[in-house]
């Protein structure tokens, strides 16, 4: 009796062991499959950008370049050095930076303020204000093009970086407000009450008490806004042209309006350059994001 029971357990143990090993390998297989699926386009881009046009024409998509050749990167960034018709990314890259930094700053700051008011200084009709702001998240880009173009015209800032900063700030506020509102809702209102009894006012409570503990949500908002604004093409192409265009518009012009021969290596290098800042933001801020989440300084 005792022995037969023991052997039954042994069999069960063996069986579950094999099942576990199989499942583990299956899991790795799936993970590797998906990972390669996602990494594949990036691989093609990098490899192609390092090849010469000769190599591209002769080899396949996947072949390695014969030598590390950064010429196409130089061309994409700084151009070929002849006058008219030479489009390259450098000036537009700085346009984008000049647009992104203030737009991200203002939209994040205004969103933080709005979230603070909506959660900690409740007023009559605050639910409606929030509802309308939320509604703003669902308005498609295309719907605001015409009214915004008119507004920029009246303000006299169409086709300028300042105009784009305004557009992106306004369009970003619903999202940033939503982020901050949801974050501040989870922070005990007793904190604000305590500060009020201690004699701190509206702004002091915001800057001294709430903002210092908002790092996680600031990082989330900055990542979101930076990506949105940097990668935007529609607003950029609608409200700006020529010199004032942001990088995504310039990239499009470069790739589509180039002369007879399609220079895939330069196109790929340009596309990567245009994508690098968002990657950097993810890599740098992503670390702080996780750190912010795990510090858990708010809850008792």
């Amino acid at each position: 009796m005792q022995d037969s029971l023991q052997s039954t357990y042994k069999q069960l143990e063996q069986k579950s062991k094999y099942t576990n090993i199989f499942l583990r390998w299956f899991l790795y297989f799936i993970l590797i499959l998906f990972a390669s699926y996602f990494i594949f386009p990036l691989y093609v881009m990098i490899v192609t950008s390092l090849k010469t046009m000769e190599e591209i024409r002769q080899g396949t998509l996947l072949t390695w370049p014969s030598a590390l050749n950064f010429d196409s990167w130089a061309v994409a960034w700084g151009g070929r050095g002849y006058g008219a018709g030479d489009t390259f990314l450098k000036p537009y890259f700085w346009n984008s930076i000049k647009m992104v930094v203030p737009a991200v700053f203002f939209s994040t700051f205004i969103g933080a303020m709005a979230g603070y008011v909506l959660t900690k200084w409740r007023f009559k009709g605050d639910k409606w204000v929030f509802l309308f702001l939320l509604f703003g998240c669902f308005i498609p880009y295309q719907a605001i093009l015409l009214p915004m173009a008119r507004t920029l015209g009246v303000l006299g800032i169409s086709n300028s970086v300042i105009g784009l900063v305004l557009v992106h700030t306004v369009y970003g506020i619903p999202f940033t407000t939503l982020f901050f509102r949801n974050f501040y809702v989870s922070i005990p209102t007793e904190l604000v009450k305590a500060a009020r009894i201690d004699g701190a006012g509206f702004f002091k409570i915001f800057f001294k008490i709430l903002l210092p503990i908002s790092a996680p949500i600031i990082v989330v908002t900055v990542i979101w806004q930076f990506t949105q604004i940097w990668n935007d093409f529609l607003f950029g192409s609608t409200f700006s042209f020529g010199e004032a265009a942001p990088i995504q518009v310039a990239l499009n012009n470069m790739v589509l309006s180039s002369t007879s021969v399609k220079e895939y290596n330069v196109d790929m290098a340009s596309a990567i350059i245009a994508g690098i800042p968002t990657l950097i933001v993810y890599v740098l801020a992503g670390k702080y994001f996780i750190r912010g989440l795990t510090s858990g300084a708010v809850k008792g």
Partner: protein, 364 residues
């Protein structure tokens, strides 16, 4: 002069009435506990005293000065919150002196206060730490310290011990009591825990549905509850309320439980109104701890009841008896052996009994 006076205060959120015509007074140095079930309005009342909540009707006076429209910071009060509400980004020192800095207190005065209070509360070793690096008890101490450094006229406590575990709660309760004994500052303390209320308060105001049910000393609240709500709310297990009628027989008054013939004599009971007692429908209230297994005193009333259930809880046991189909709970030492489903002779201490009008639920 009353340190705190609340007059005819009413408050509603939209159409919900939270507080109704509240009147309260506290003398200097007293410890008032606002006690009641959740949603009774006690925290709202405290927030109104602090000035964190607006008033719909009525007024709040501190030292006879009407502060109804005065900002929280100018009311000369300090508050300790349930979640401690320590500023997470500041260390203990910054937390404690934040209020003084806002009030533009001189540097020397701030340092002096900080040193005095942090020594007093034994948090002087923790001054450089962030709140997240403190234990629950330490956080509580710092929160109290933050209130203390301001030397307020009135301390407001909003369920300060609810977030602590049972053992720490008892310790901190004693410390708050000690604190009050030493400082003799006026305190208003909100809790839903009756043990806390009983042990801390010099006065307890029991609230329900936005109305103060009884405002009295802990002894009177326990011994002479003014209505069935208070009788039921205070005590664990709560007071037995046995339904029945009063009988008047040649000057003597008896209680007869519904469905029983036994006449329980009501002698030396302090009736508010002696008229019209005959046949009055009442609740006869007796606490489980006033039912005895032995006749310890001449005046105890002997009664025989059937034991139905026994709950053992360590140092004592709670036994459920059947009294003419009504449940009666009694508390005995756990050393006593009770045989279930048997008639057992018990003794009621009638001097501790209460009578309530069955219609109005008020004490008679």
């Amino acid at each position: 002069m009353k340190t705190l006076k609340i007059k005819e205060l009413s408050k509603n959120f939209g159409t919900t009435e939270v507080l109704r015509k509240i009147n309260l007074e506290i003398d200097e140095g007293n410890f008032l506990v606002l006690l009641g079930p959740s949603g009774c309005g006690k925290s709202t009342l405290l927030n109104i005293i602090a000035g964190l909540e607006t008033i719909n009707e009525g007024n709040v006076f501190i030292d006879d000065y009407n502060v109804s429209k005065v900002e929280p910071k100018d009311r000369n009060i300090a508050m300790v919150f349930q979640s401690y509400a320590l500023y997470p980004s500041m260390n203990v020192r910054e937390n404690m002196i934040f209020g003084l800095k806002q009030a533009k207190t001189s540097k020397e005065k701030i340092e002096e206060q900080l040193e005095k209070v942090s020594k007093f509360l034994q948090v002087d070793q923790l001054l450089e730490r962030k709140p997240s690096q403190l234990s629950g008890g330490q956080r509580q101490r710092v929160a109290i310290g933050r209130a203390l450094v301001r030397e307020p006229r009135i301390f407001l406590f909003d369920e300060p011990l609810s977030n602590l575990d049972a053992k720490l709660r008892v310790e901190m309760r004693r410390e708050i009591k000690k604190l009050h004994q030493q400082l003799k500052t006026t305190v208003v303390y909100v809790t839903h825990d009756q043990t806390e209320a009983m042990s801390l308060g010099t006065n307890i105001a029991i609230m329900n549905h936005g109305v103060i049910q009884q405002n009295d000393t802990p002894e009177n609240i326990y011994n002479k509850p003014s209505n069935t709500f208070v009788a039921d709310f205070i005590g664990s297990p709560s007071m037995n309320l046995i339904k029945g009628n009063l009988k008047e027989n040649s000057g003597d008054i008896f209680f007869v439980a519904s469905g029983s013939n036994l006449e329980v004599p009501i002698k030396d009971y302090d009736f508010k109104d002696k008229s019209n007692l005959n046949n009055k429908e009442v609740f006869f209230g007796i606490r489980p701890e006033h039912i005895f297994f032995k006749k310890l005193h001449e005046t105890y009333f002997e009664i025989t009841l059937r034991a139905d259930l026994s709950e053992y809880i360590g140092h004592e046991q709670i036994v459920t008896f059947d009294y003419a189909n009504q449940e009666v709970l009694a508390k005995f030492s756990s050393t006593i052996k009770i045989e279930l489903a048997k008639e057992i002779r018990l003794y009621f201490d009638l001097t501790q009994a209460s009578l309530f009008d069955a219609q109005t639920q008020e004490r008679i």
